[in-house]
Amino acid sequence: MFRVKNFLVVLVTVLLSFSLAGCGSGEKNSASISEKPSGEKMKVAFIYNAQIGDYGWAYSHEEARKKVQQSLGYVETVSLENVSPGAKAERTMRELANRGFKVIVATSSDFEADVLKVAKDFPNVDFLICAGTVAKKPNVESFYPKHDQLWYIMGKLAGYMTKTNTLGMIGAIVHPLDLQTQNAFELGALSVNPKVKLKCLFINTYYDPAAEKDAAKSLINAGADVLAQCTNTPAHVEAAEEEGVYAISMFADMRQFGPKAFLSGDDFKWEKYYIPTIEKIHKNQWVPQLVEPDITSGILTMAHFGNSVPQDVRDKIKADLDKAIEGKVVPDSYWEGPIYDNKGNLVVPKGQKLTEKQLLNMNWWVKGIITSQK
């Protein structure tokens, strides 16, 4: 009995340590870069902090990457999923830089700190941060389109479609770029429906479908009949479909998760930024800036209407959208004063407009938005 027990102890320990070793090497494999070294082509890497299958943020960038690969013959693109911000992202980017990658596209503001650290040590590698807030010569550029300009029009769509005059928004974290879209959404809704209110719940993370669904259902139960989200999953569309209300999706076209509920949403064409920018880098004409294309650039497009949108609403929204895209109207006229916040303060007096600096530091919500965040 004594010998058998000892043998079994050793066996169990060995088995467990094998599985632990397996875990370790598996981790490395998922972030390893598999490309053939080819000295001629310019190497471009896209890093995502999520899975491409999230049908949200990472998915839209991946679609753009494929188009970049198709249209620019001199580049060789590579994409890396599940790179978590922090130490892992820093290591990954250093490894990419060491392997001769010329351009690294960091597709999330979460990567900003890591990019800045790595960029200092590799001045010959160019970094493009999506939704970042800094541009640093010689090699760091941040880009993000004026998302609020499209969401003003989405707000109008919500304002036309709501019957309870209550909209719901599921936010992730309190970030100025998200607040811009939330405020524009409500201002758009108010422009066609002065009684509309927007209730916001924040789930404190971009990716938690269960919490997002719970928050969506709470909002529906509290009276919201058009939902939107700043998070990265289609859970709110599913919730809207289950409860028989409407949903608008941010960051990607999520109609397959709620055929009856889906009204419209984002359809980013990131390649319209990536291709010209990579061309400029290739021709050595690139100067890093804070790039904020507006709605006339073609990056921000609207997904096709869902089945539930009636024809008259479609016509009105299409007319507004076309005017904005063709540059026939000032696309962000809603940022002109007077604007009150939801605590009653006058944030923008009559005759003035929100400045770039104010937009980048936005930490307040317009009148009509109900949220418990401070």
């Binding site: 269960a210 669904k213 259902k217 709470s218 909002l219 139960n221 418990s372």
Partner: protein, 309 residues
């Protein structure tokens, strides 16, 4: 808050409480035998990823459930060997199991992050009960919710009304007496430890197949630990566990609903409520049981050695 909102909180609360109920019932049976399975949190995660992964690969959610049960039973068997035969310290081994299972589930779950589930357990309506005008909604739950209640009631019946239950309680309270009566103490403890692992796996599979159909790393959010508190709260009685699990479930579904009604409490505090409740409950039990005879199984956590009788 109006009636509609209260009904909604109760309905969502029952759904949120079901994973707690599965795991708590299994753990009550296990702790009655005198062993402690602190690996519940990890086993839930493994159950969640096994269930979800298998369902996505095969397209069949029942196969997913079966996979969760099998994998967790296997892990439970290894844990039982370590804790019963090798007489390792049950607290340390349980925590080690949790840490291992958390990492293991994250590792095998990497390809599944971001994938939205296709086959899931949807709410069913019960013929007569669901048609009650306002309250009927409470009965529109999925199959696994009812299974959890049946499991808990069955466990209560087993413990207090059958001979097998008597043997189980004997093993937990006085294994040497049980042993001299001819009950195989080791076998009983093995069986119920595996039962608690399976129920933890089922509760995890419920999270990834019914409560929300996807996988995120760490999606249990501490529910395994809440289960341990719940086992104490229910004083090792499965019927009380039903009440406790639904109470915890309702507290967590209340937080989003309160925020949506415009209550001006920061969302961080509202998210804390289920965990604060767990602590409050344990303090309350400790205070009430001071001086009275504890219902705890007498040899909880102490390995049984025939030689040292």
């Amino acid at each position: 808050m109006e009636l509609g909102a209260i009904i909604w909180v109760i309905t969502m609360g029952i759904r949120a409480g079901t994973p707690l109920l599965f795991a708590a019932t299994g753990e009550i049976l296990n702790q009655r035998a005198g062993t402690m399975n602190l690996g519940i949190e990890g086993l839930m995660l493994v159950g969640a990823i096994s269930g979800f992964g298998t369902t996505m690969v095969t397209g069949n959610k029942w196969l997913g459930l079966l996979a969760a049960i099998t994998v967790c039973a296997l892990l439970g068997f290894i844990f039982a060997f370590i804790v019963i035969n090798l007489k390792a310290n049950q607290v340390a081994a349980g925590i080690a199991l949790t840490i291992f299972c958390t990492g293991f589930s994250s590792f095998i779950g990497k390809p599944m992050i971001g994938v939205m589930g296709t086959s899931k357990f949807a709410p069913l309506s019960v013929p007569i009960l669901s048609d009650i005008p306002v309250f009927g909604k409470i009965f529109c739950q999925d199959l696994l919710v009812y299974l959890a209640v049946i499991f808990a009631v069955g466990a209560w019946f087993l413990l207090y009304r059958t001979r097998a239950g008597l043997h189980l309680r004997a093993v937990g309270d006085s294994p040497s007496t049980a042993d001299s009566m001819g009950i195989n103490v080791y076998l009983v403890r093995y069986i119920y430890l595996i039962v608690s692992s399976i129920s933890a796996g089922l509760s995890g599979a419920y999270l990834s197949l019914a409560y929300s159909s996807n996988w995120i790393e760490g999606m249990t959010a501490g529910r395994g630990w809440i289960t341990i508190a719940l086992v104490c709260f229910s004083m090792w009685n499965p019927l009380r566990a039903i009440a406790g699990a639904y109470l915890f479930g309702m507290v967590s579904s209340l937080d989003f609903r309160l925020e949506a009604s415009g209550i001006d409490v920061p969302s961080y505090f509202l998210r804390m409520t289920p965990y604060l409740l767990s602590i409050a409950v344990l303090v309350f039990i400790g205070w009430r049981m001071k001086g009275k005879r504890m219902v705890v199984p007498a040899t909880l956590g102490i390995p049984y050695e025939r030689e040292s009788r």
